[in-house]
């Protein structure tokens, strides 16, 4: 589904990603861990197409298409979803209006009819339950006045509504208390399908107790320096990142 090869990216002339490789197949969950400043969030932004970053080398293939050649909204319409680390507030724009616009834009792109109001509302009711999001929040402005946990749940709710092929969760767990974390994880797990995949970017191993990854990768200094099964996460939690750093240096 996603194939990243030798990806280099920089911001303001500073190289952050330095030859990153990653392949994600349908049905898989990949976790990306790493110390602060390793380039985790950069990876998420680059995949979504944030223009502050310049791609200097490498390629990203998404469902056989050149992802880097697409505009941000095109990527989204093709089925790439980014759950933001810091979801943005948009005053005056209701969640409902926002989502309906997004869904209909995507449907238009795919040559489908706009969703009927009735179907849409039924979908909202059903999927907001998934993340225990109060239906009142659906009528409020996007993320405005939401608590930290509500914002993150809203991200997963949007994910449920937009039915992406590939979801990138950028530190969705940071700042969540244990109850909110459980709800978010439950939502993500419920949305898991054979033909979809997720990349879970996190700083903390604890998220992976709830969202069980098929693979764990360690991102360090702009590269994936170690990959392994889910047990790798436990090892990282125990020993920290220093041993990885040593390993890298010793290479």
């Amino acid at each position: 589904m996603l194939k990243i090869q030798n990806l280099h990216a920089e911001i303001d002339g500073k190289e952050i990603l330095k030859g990153l490789n990653l392949e994600v197949k349908a049905g898989e969950v990949h976790a990306i861990m790493g110390p602060n400043g390793a380039g985790k969030s950069t990876l998420a932004s680059v995949l979504a197409g944030k223009e502050d970053y310049e791609i200097t080398k490498g390629s990203v293939e998404f469902e056989g298409k050149d992802l880097l050649d697409m505009e941000t909204d095109e990527r989204a319409k093709e089925g790439l979803f980014l759950a933001f680390q810091y979801p943005v507030e948009i005053p005056g724009v209701s969640n409902i209006n926002f989502l309906r616009t997004a869904i209909n834009e995507k449907r238009e792109y795919l040559g489908q009819e706009p969703i009927s109001a009735k179907d849409f509302m039924a979908m909202v009711r059903e999927r907001s339950k998934l993340v225990e999001l109060d239906s009142k929040l659906a009528n409020r402005s996007v993320n405005v006045g939401f608590s930290g946990g509500e914002k993150k749940r809203n991200e997963i709710f949007q994910m449920a509504m937009l039915e992406p092929k590939l979801s990138v969760l950028d530190e969705t767990d940071s700042g969540l208390d244990i109850d909110a974390l459980r709800i978010v994880a439950k939502g993500v797990n419920a949305l898991k399908k054979e033909d979809t995949a997720s990349i879970v970017i996190t700083h903390y191993q604890r998220l992976l107790d709830y969202i069980v990854p098929d693979f764990v990768h360690v991102l360090y200094d702009g590269k994936i320096v170690k990959s392994g099964p889910k047990e790798l996460a436990l090892e990282l939690e125990e020993k920290g990142y220093d041993w990885i750093k040593e390993e890298v240096v010793n290479h």
Binding site: G49, D73, A76, F84, V88, I90, G92, L99, T101, E105
Partner: protein, 481 residues
């Protein structure tokens, strides 16, 4: 989106032709250019006016001659040549017996404006007093309204049919000497709307007028007088457009609202006068004096969405004279290309327990200059007065300007005044968020801007709100710097 550059924005905006820039080819009667006592007498006699009104005009003219055009507003423009304007233009064929008699071209104009009377009659139940240039040519729903004792007619008609009411209230809220343009209007006003709602009557429908400047080289000086008698209620809509022309057209209207004890007037404006082309050529000079007076427990609410005019100079105001009266001002002002707007409000608190709210949302794009200027004055005797002001400015490019000039004057220690203002750039992170959800740039900006203006748009009557939203989106298509 760093790469969605100003250039693209500029291109998008410049390509946007003025949608309503068509002219109506009907025969019209124009009097010679220039302004002097004879012209005023001519206007007055053409309209068959009583002597007291002629006197009112002549007195105003004398005052105007002594006055200087104000220059304190944050706008720059070539001052109009007041002798180069024709002060009266009326479609030659007057007096329509029925709707069928109305010039087909004029009907066409109206339908292009989206306010075809027929359609409105059928669909919305809005009674429209359509003012093309200066003479009211069609009114509807009159009978229905008259059953309730509501008078809604052209100003000229009111002068003939209800002279006592006109005489009693004309110039009481905006005195002739108020300012340069009010004096000019008082001398030469050609027509406008008149409305009277009797005691205790709630007007069952939205009253609506559409203003349009048609004839080349004519200024429009309409005069609106709206009286809500004790405990009456009325919601009044005003829309404005003008055809696209190279020269600047002057529009200097005066609107006076009188809200007597316990009455409420809701006055909504969607103004889309021709703003000039992308070079800043042409466009309407909109120098308008709008003011209302509230008696005891009365309320006046101004709502405006302003996207047009080359230069705007306009401060719909409330004099809160009666105890427990309420004034409100909700405004969205969009400027683009070379437009300049200096607009805001005045809330004059004279009575006790008076309340006012000001919500102003400015959006500047292109090379435009957009200023909010507002006065909140709490008189010595206005115990327990309250004001809340929120004025926000949104900047779309780095060549435009957004300015805020609030004047807060308080002479009473029991008053509570709160003023907040912010100026910021349209949020790149907001746009990115929308894009990531698959919403394209243009729609994203539409969403964000409409969201930003929501507090004001919500105050408009439904059918106007839709039009206003469309206007906003058209005015700012693809506009992020």
């Amino acid at each position: 989106m760093a790469d969605y550059t100003e250039n693209e924005l500029a291109k998008d905006l410049e390509n946007k032709e003025y949608e309503y820039g068509f002219t109506t080819n009907i025969e019209s009667e124009k009097i010679p250019n220039g302004l002097n006592e004879d012209i005023i007498r001519l206007i007055s006699s053409k309209k068959n006016e009583p002597d007291w009104l002629l006197e009112f005009r002549l007195k105003s003219f004398k005052m105007w001659e002594q006055m200087e055009e104000p220059d304190w507003a944050h706008v720059k423009y070539q001052k109009p040549d007041f002798q180069g304007i024709s002060y009266y233009a009326a479609p030659k064929k007057q007096k329509y017996e029925s709707w069928d008699d109305v010039d087909p071209e004029m009907k066409e104009t109206m339908s292009k404006l989206g306010i075809s009377l027929e359609e409105q009659k059928r669909l919305t139940g809005v009674a429209v007093d359509f003012v093309m240039d200066s003479v009211s040519v069609a009114t509807s729903f009159k009978e229905k309204l008259s059953e309730l004792g509501i008078i809604f007619c052209s100003f000229s008609e009111a002068v003939q049919e209800h002279p006592d009411l006109v005489k009693k209230y004309l110039g009481t809220v905006v005195p002739q000497s108020d300012n340069f343009y009010a004096a000019l209007n008082s001398a030469v006003f050609s027509d406008g709307s008149f409305c009277y709602i009797p005691k205790g009557v709630k007007c069952p429908m939205e009253l609506s007028t559409y203003f349009r400047i048609n004839e080349a080289g004519t200024g429009q000086f309409e005069r609106t007088l709206l009286i809500a008698d004790e405990n009456a209620y009325v919601s009044y809509l005003e829309g404005c457009t003008a055809p696209q022309r190279d020269e600047n057209q002057l529009h200097a209207a005066v609107v006076e609202l009188i809200s007597l004890d316990g009455a409420e007037i809701k006055y909504s404006t969607v103004q889309n006068w021709f703003p000039g082309d992308k070079e800043g050529k042409g466009g309407v000079f909109n120098f308008v004096t709008k003011r209302g007076i509230c008696h005891k427990r009365a309320k006046i609410s101004w709502t405006q969405v302003e996207t047009g005019s080359a230069v705007t100079w306009k401060y719909p105001s409330c004099i809160l004279k009666g105890d427990d009266s309420v004034g409100e001002f909700y405004s969205v002002a969009v400027t683009n290309n070379h437009q300049m707007a200096d607009t805001g409000t005045k809330m004059i608190h004279l009575g006790k327990n008076t309340k006012s709210t000001i919500i102003s949302k400015g959006i500047s794009a292109g090379k435009s200059q957009n200023s909010y200027r507002g006065l909140v004055k709490i008189d010595r005797k206005a115990d327990n007065a309250r004001n809340f002001t929120q004025c926000d400015s949104l900047l779309m490019t780095d060549r435009c300007g957004a300015h805020t000039f609030p004047y807060i004057e308080c002479e009473n220690p029991t008053a509570q005044l709160e003023h907040e203002a912010t100026t910021s750039k349209i949020g790149e992170d907001q746009i990115f968020y929308c894009l990531q959800r698959g919403i394209d740039e243009e729609k994203a900006i539409g969403l964000i801007v409409n969201g930003y203006c929501k507090d004001v748009l919500n105050k408009l009557p439904m059918e106007f709100a839709v039009e206003a939203q469309k206007l906003l989106t058209i005015s700012l298509e693809g506009s992020v710097g």
